[in-house]
């Protein structure tokens, strides 16, 4: 195990599945035609594009025209939010208010902040200590001018799954468009847009064992948005640029595999992450699970370990071959600790000591055993160097026995 990489950062990105690589290869230099061209190579590209769209639309339970390929999850979120804001807000002057929540990915938050500079008003809903939005808060935030609600499906840092169906009902009652960032959901949650009830949905390849740099926006029929990118008119004139066929083929293949393996993987990974969580909480004092105890993505284990700084822990882990991530201020470019952990009401010290392990398709039982074997000693070392000694009673609520038992089941 010492010489092997134990990759527990699948929420950051996943390895490309070999089956996906295989599906993509012919489209680089054999079947490389531009779908827009009037010859057989071009037609080959068009067929691959159509097939990919077909596969994906059947998984999302929508029609093929409702799928628009983009260059990333970030682009999809931008396209959704700016697209609606600019069309409904600027062009049709239907309103200038957007509702989102504090624990969104930067792809959503920064986009909203950008729109604020353009004159839009944005409400950032608070979350509770498990990272959940409050539906009454949402209802209360709705105004006459509200044009869009953007709430993510599952959180990338703490794994909390939001009640999208209820949110969708509220949006429909109020005739407000609803976008969800589903980038963390593809492997474990139902992507049926009819069940979710969203009008727009962002998804990418990078988290589902597909290639990076490709994403999609589901855009419900009849909804108009202003495009971000203008040009040759691809993707129903909403996202110009020659279609990236190999990546799109890989994305479709990845989603197909993820969907086929969803049930089995949810169960398998659920068991492993339960073992990891309970193992850490029972061997390391003053540690607790971040996020929701039940309504969480099974692959996510985010633990705050008091009195340690996450970057130091990560480097020790990396030294032993384990890749994880942290919400510590020391690793962020802005030197601000994780906005997600802070939004759940924890002080920055607890964000500093937050470590995220995100399990995946390649994670094995032996790897979990290995982490459980080396982590207590690493924490002991880092704690030794630390002059900080937070009082356990200040975190009583988080450190209670009840919190150590999590039920990672198949989530509805």
């Amino acid at each position: 195990m010492e010489n092997k990489t134990v990759y527990l950062d699948n929420a950051a990105t996943t390895a490309v599945d070999p089956r996906v690589v295989e599906a993509m290869i012919p489209y680089f230099n054999e079947n490389y035609g531009n779908p827009g061209s009037m010859h057989s190579l071009g037609l080959g590209g068009q067929v691959a594009l159509d097939n990919s769209r077909e596969k994906i639309s059947s998984i999302l339970n929508c029609s093929t025209e409702e799928i628009l390929f983009t260059g990333s999850g970030t682009e999809s979120c931008n396209m959704a939010i700016k697209g609606v804001a600019h069309h409904l807000g600027k062009k049709l002057k239907k309103g200038n208010h957007i509702i989102t929540q504090k624990t969104e990915h930067h792809a959503v938050l920064e986009t909203c902040e950008f729109l604020e500079k353009e004159g839009f008003e944005v409400t950032y809903l608070d979350v509770d200590r498990f990272g959940m939005v409050n539906l009454d808060d949402l209802k209360n935030a709705i105004r006459e001018e509200t044009i869009l609600v953007s709430i993510m499906y599952a959180n990338n840092e703490i794994g909390t799954i939001q009640p999208l169906e209820e949110i969708s009902d509220i949006c429909r009652e109020n005739k407000i468009l609803f976008h969800t960032d589903a980038c963390q959901a593809g492997n474990y949650l139902d992507l049926d847009v009819e069940k979710i009830g969203c009008d727009l949905l962002s998804l990418n390849g990078s988290k589902i064992y597909g290639p990076k740099g490709v994403g999609l926006l589901y855009l419900r029929k009849g909804i108009m948005i202003t495009p971000l990118i203008h040009g040759g008119g691809q993707e129903r004139r909403l996202r110009s640029g020659t279609e990236n066929i190999p990546l799109i083929v890989g994305f479709a293949k990845a989603l197909e595999i993820a969907t086929a393996e969803k049930e089995g993987e949810t169960e398998r990974i659920g068991k492993l992450s339960k073992k990891l969580t309970e193992g850490i909480l029972s061997t390391i004092p003053k540690a607790f699970l971040n996020g929701h105890p039940e309504k969480r993505i099974v692959s996510n284990v985010n633990i705050s370990i008091l009195d340690v700084e996450g970057e130091a822990v990560l480097l020790y882990l990396d030294h032993r071959g384990v890749c994880a991530s942290t919400g510590s201020a020391c690793t962020s470019k802005t030197l601000d600790p994780s906005h997600v952990i802070l939004a759940t009401g924890l002080p920055y010290e607890a964000a500093h000591g937050s470590i995220r392990f995100s399990l995946g398709r390649n994670t094995t039982n032996e790897e979990i055993d290995y982490v459980l074997e080396i982590l207590p000693e690493i924490i002991k070392n880092v704690r030794g160097i630390s002059p900080v000694n937070l009082k356990a009673e200040d975190f009583k609520e988080y450190l209670s026995e009840a919190n150590k038992k999590i039920s990672l089941g198949v989530v509805a």
């Binding site: 001018e145 009195d307 700084e309 030197l335 600790p337 920055y348 010290e349």
Partner: protein, 220 residues
């Protein structure tokens, strides 16, 4: 709906290799020198030490505590603890080595050490991690001042007083220094962090001068 602004200011930033650590830093991180590894060691060392300094990092909220044992104005031992990142651990480990090697350094000499000197001995730190080396340096200054007080040399204590620059919001030169250490380089960036000059416009030329001064001091 309200009028939309058309001009939007978005600036590109470059930060490659933002957490890459070289071998010297790594060595000091993985096998730090002179740290106190638990409360018991702290207790023991506090019996012999005669100077202690503690600082919190304004940038990331981290903390550093540093103890010295001085004999006849020469630092014989320097021990520390930190709630900080690898750079904080590495640079303080290096600093503790620098002030105690070759039979120890005179306190007056130790006061001349700058964060740049530490970074140089470490053969470099990522730019955005520079502020971590300031942590140990400041803690050392605190510890030396404490030693001066304990040894009756109060006249030598260096008070790094803060001077109020923005008279309305009471923002000091220290706040500007911290903003620069956090990466702000322009008036706008410093204003984003401190709101300086939002009301007291008269201070802006002085603020700009201080930004140049601190940028030069730490990153020049």
């Amino acid at each position: 709906m309200s009028e939309m602004k058309t001009h939007i200011d978005v600036k590109a930033t470059v930060d490659s290799k933002n957490w890459f650590y070289n071998d010297t830093v790594k060595e000091h991180f993985f096998t730090p020198k002179n740290f106190l590894k638990d409360e018991k060691e702290v207790e023991e060392f506090e019996k012999v030490s005669n100077g202690v300094g503690q600082v919190g990092s304004p940038a990331c909220g981290d903390m550093m505590k540093l103890w010295i044992r001085v004999e006849d104005d020469v630092i014989k031992e320097c021990k520390w603890q930190t709630f900080g990142c690898a750079s904080a651990i590495g640079s303080t480990s290096m600093l503790s080595l620098m002030v105690t090697e070759n039979e120890g350094m005179k306190v007056d000499e130790a006061l001349k050490i700058t964060p740049q000197d530490i970074v140089k001995r470490l053969e470099g730190l990522p730019a955005r991690k520079f502020h971590c080396s300031v942590l140990g340096d400041k803690a050392l200054r605190g510890a030396i001042n404490d030693y001066f007080r304990q040894s009756g040399q109060d006249d030598k204590v260096i008070v790094e007083g803060a001077k109020i620059i923005d008279k309305i919001l009471k923002i000091t030169d220290k706040d500007i220094e911290e903003a620069v250490l956090e990466g702000a380089r322009t008036l706008e960036e410093v204003q984003k962090k401190t709101k300086i000059g939002a009301q007291d416009k008269s201070c802006i030329p002085e603020v700009e001068q201080l930004i140049r001064f601190y940028t030069e001091k730490y990153f020049g």
